[in-house]
Symmetry: C2
Subunit: 251 residues, 2 copies
DNA sequence: CGCGACTTTGAGTCTCATCAAGTTCGGTGG
DNA sequence: CCACCGAACTTGATGAGACTCAAAGTCGCG
């Protein structure tokens, strides 16, 4: 049974009441799980492919990227453990980006065909998926806001704050320290700067006693000050769930 | 009857077969239309408000923006006639941006409450809304790709190409000429540059014989070359609709 | 031990922001 | 019909932030 997928999806919400029986009903329609182990560098999907399933990232990090003709690269999204990948290709049915594992990890696929069954059977789950999909859009919008009219220092600081907040949210870390498995080139391609400047910017943040990075371990020395520098307001990461509204349609 | 909203939504797809009876069934549940006339500068919603309805822009242009503490502004989305506004606030239930009319225009509201009924009644419509919401996300991602590692000239050219393509798509214009009702300051806040530099960049594009702008009328002199300069590939604007997949769940 | 990937540091350059002063143009009121 | 006003735009000068190229340093891993 595909409990794994549903745990991942529902864990993000504070919903308990009406959920249990709904999930139970859904589980009947779902195919067997197939947890797959992937290595760092393994491809999740490639540009141009047909998209036939969602991917739930059970553990490990991944990213999606777009390659320009000149060979340069733009990392679009960073995926952390617990994330649902590929929602935005459900409608179009094909991949516009490449997605690659940053670390080793376990993934679980959910075919679109079972998704569509859900639209039929469970308005609740549909609404949840809607919420998650929109959440991604909010993150993209926030990134956009950050990318323009913000200095390199602010952008890097913001990205670190965002990763940290997301890891705290899902319980992947409990302290101001975590493994950030992106190279400086990856960060550069995420934040739209050169790798050289990422290095300099890290030095600057370190000199100010805000963060420390050794190999791929990142230590936040002064979280409050870092958030202040980044002008980071993590509220956009919270999925707000208007339970009253949706529960009306439930019954 | 709320035919207006549904026309706007469905007009974007090449779907004819299974649609008619489904739409007919939906129309029963929808409240009366209320087409409202708005003037340029009128607010559609404000940051922090509760979001209780979608807005369909029947005519006129609008934008959504985020204001920073320092007073500067980031335009996030530009809305053209026919667009469905506010999809990404359905889940969260509150507005994170300000939305303002750029020109006079007519709008039509669709309360969330009727949306949620749709999740129950019509998987087809649900999937369509999913597609439209994802379409917005694709546009945001594309913007992101453009905003980084692209020169001011390319960004401006790309924005012009995008507007032009969207207007052609919905039949708002048929020629390489249209009214672009954004000031250079608006464009600057959209593209993350200074108003002064927008002016210079326009001059540059004009000098190269690509576009011409007089008052708010924009004339594209050499569309092909403009697209080449912008590295514009309009495929991301097409909503691709995998009818087979969804029709499986239909019956 | 040494290779290769990643990072750091330095020097020179360019794009674009900022500040400031003018210009165009439609609208308004005398 | 003209003078003036304000919003939008243009043009010039200056400087800061970030890019590029290049070379050296660090570190894990085979």
């Amino acid at each position: 049974m595909n409990r794994i997928v549903f745990e991942s999806i529902f864990r993000r919400f504070d919903i308990h009441r009406t959920l249990e029986q709904e999930v139970a009903a859904l589980l009947e329609h779902l195919p067997e799980d197939e947890l797959r182990h992937l290595k760092a560098g393994d491809s999740l999907w490639q540009e141009g492919e047909n998209a036939s399933s969602l991917i739930v990232l059970r553990s490990g990090w991944a990213y999606s990227a777009h390659y320009h003709k000149d060979g340069s690269r733009q990392l679009l999204e960073t995926y952390l453990p617990g994330d649902v990948l590929g929602l935005c290709q459900v409608a179009s049915g094909n991949r516009r980006t490449n997605a690659v594992m940053l670390t080793d990890g376990w993934v679980c696929e959910l075919p679109h065909s079972s998704l569509l069954g859900m639209f039929n059977d469970s308005p609740m789950t549909t609404a949840l998926l809607f919420a998650i999909a929109n959440q991604r859009q909010v993150m993209l919008a926030e990134r956009q806001i950050m990318m323009t009219h913000r200095s390199a220092k602010q952008r890097l600081a913001h990205f670190i704050c965002e990763c940290h907040a997301r890891l705290l949210e899902t319980g992947e870390t409990y302290r101001d320290e975590f493994l950030l498995p992106l190279t400086q080139q990856d960060l550069a391609d995420t934040l739209g700067m050169s790798a050289v400047h990422v290095s300099r910017t890290f030095s600057q943040l370190a000199a100010e006693g805000l963060v420390q990075r050794r190999l791929f371990q990142l230590i936040i020395l002064d979280a409050d000050k870092l958030r202040e520098v980044a002008a980071f307001d993590g509220r956009y990461l919270k999925i707000q769930w208007n339970e009253e509204d949706f529960s009306i349609t439930e019954q």
